[in-house]
């Protein structure tokens, strides 16, 4: 009896320590990722210093490396993706939660969640074979003939209609994050207590007024948090972009021209990089991307935590 008691206690300690050890291992992994990226990036950072972030030259032959082209591509494609993704996902979420007839609700919601699970390489491949040729043949000539002639934004849309380029990559990225963001928005909107909405409807508010004055104020921090999560995805996405961005290391004003993002540079060049400085510069790019997504996640988390804190006070 006593013996089995001590055995139980020992096993208790062993089991508790095992779970704690694996949890701490997760922490160690992140520390190790940070360290290995820093060590890997060190030669490049030491050589170029801050110049690495602001230089637009990326030349493996002369071994001059600057991250500006990749940073610019990453940010611009993500902005384009958000411009498309946010309003469309918002519209879809409103449609599912407020407009859709009950029998259609579940099928559409499930379909959107399933689409969010499709691997990004599929989006990239479709972009390369189907969307880019279509876009280059039909939309880009039209863009450069109309928007390309306008004074201020003209240079953004001028140039040959190649099909592949920064704009195409941004659009594919936008299409890719629509299902993800729409399902997050929908989850958020469904959190709003029906009583609140019903009271507003009861005093005669229209559906749009309910959304604007009840649903959005109630969920606004969560909505911003969800947008940040979507942005984090867009910044770090590799395959959907690599297929269609064109892998060019020049800084172009025109969105129709090929470019590069941080992740597509890594995907295209990492295994072929010759020389320590080249590899190290690519790892430094990875480090920048990691820091960028970390900041975005941190802000998203902070906002979502504030939302749950508020919820706690309310109920």
């Amino acid at each position: 009896m006593v013996r089995s008691g001590t055995r139980g206690r020992i096993l208790d300690v062993v089991f508790a320590s095992a779970t704690k050890a694996s949890a701490i291992f997760v922490l160690l992994i992140i520390v190790a990722i940070m360290l290995s990226l820093l060590i890997g990036a060190w030669p490049a950072l030491k050589r170029f210093g801050f110049y690495f972030v602001i230089s637009k030259e990326w030349n493996p032959v002369t071994e001059h490396f600057g991250a500006l082209v990749a940073i610019y591509g990453t940010i611009v494609t993500s902005i384009i993706a958000m411009l498309i993704g946010v309003p469309v996902s918002f519209g879809i979420a409103v449609f599912i939660t407020e407009l859709c007839p009950a029998w259609l609700k579940q099928p559409i919601a499930t379909a959107i969640e399933l689409l969010a699970a499709i691997p990004s390489i599929i989006y990239g491949m479709w972009g390369l074979f189907v969307f880019a040729p279509f876009f280059g043949d039909h939309v880009e000539p039209w863009l450069s003939n109309t928007l390309g002639r306008l004074p201020v934004i003209g240079p953004l849309f001028s140039g040959p209609p190649l099909g592949i380029g920064v704009l195409t990559a941004g659009i594919i990225l936008g299409i890719m994050i629509i299902p993800f963001m729409a399902s997050v928005f929908r989850d958020l909107f469904e959190v709003v207590p029906p009583v609140l909405k019903e009271s507003a409807y009861g005093i005669g508010a229209t559906t749009w007024e309910v959304i604007k004055k009840i649903v959005l104020p109630y969920t606004k921090i969560g909505v911003v948090g969800a947008i940040m999560l979507g942005l984090g995805r867009a910044l770090g996405e590799t395959m959907a972009v690599t297929f269609v961005i064109g892998n060019a290391d020049r800084l172009e004003t025109s969105l129709l021209m090929p470019g590069n993002t941080i992740s597509s540079s890594l995907a295209n060049q990492f295994t072929e990089a010759v020389g320590k400085l080249y590899t190290s510069s690519l790892i430094a790019l990875g480090l920048l991307l990691f820091i960028l997504t970390f900041i975005v996640l941190f802000v998203a988390k902070y906002l979502l935590v504030r939302l749950t804190l508020k919820e706690g006070v309310r109920t």
């Binding site: 390489i121 479709w126 999560l229 590799t238 295994t271």
Partner: protein, 285 residues
Amino acid sequence: MSVIKNININLYRKRRLVNFLVLACSVLTTLFGLFWLVWLLETLFLHGFRYLNLSVFTEPTPPPGQSGGLANAIAGSVLITIMGVLLGAPLGVLSGTFLSEYGNRSRVAPIIRFVNDVLLSAPSIILGVFIYEIVVVPSGHFSGWAGSLSLALIALPIIVRTTEDMLKLVPNTVREAACALGAPRWKVTVAIVYRAARAGIFTGILLAVARISGETAPLLFTALNNQFWSSSLNEPVANLPVVIFQFAMSPYEDWQHLAWAGALLITISVLILNIIVRTFLRTGK
């Protein structure tokens, strides 16, 4: 009186109009979003099924200009994915257990939770670079193991998160009842809590499988590719995502056709896994 009535009617009409316009926009955006996704799936299924035949499953990847299949890539993918899950799942389930069962009184738990979210949102290509740095460079060659490790890093945070959530769904009264019978803490967790949350934990693992089976970016620097059958995970191993990437980007039409067939296979398996997860969750509740 009549003035007030007029103003109200005008206001009412305006509100109705704004409402109508916004809701019309909502329907339009839904159609817009669905349009792209339907277009994508349509091309994928059309091309995929056209090039999907028996030799895809029986023959290895061909050199340019010859016929072949994807057999070695399919086998490699399955192997790398299974190994990735086997490496990631025990660690993930244990960490999730810690967060749910022992985390309340611990000051480490919130940090682990945050770090887990960082890992969850880290770009997968970064994880590939990390494994390249710590496995491929020291060992001097690309290998299937490196690929499995990078996939395990992607699966890990998903499993941690779902395990914690699922264990927290188990009512505390169940734990208390077991404790009252004199069961030690580990036995409560293993024999009672795990059993109650079995379906949920399994679901989390399946979700992780679905997530990593289409993952491409980290495999580019780790498992690389192999045109032939690999005899062990200690050498570069062919895998579907990387084969799709290389074949789709190639100028050879045969290769591109195989890439479509591979893309269809991956999409179908990911969708089936997700549907299984969904039915599991529904029956679990």
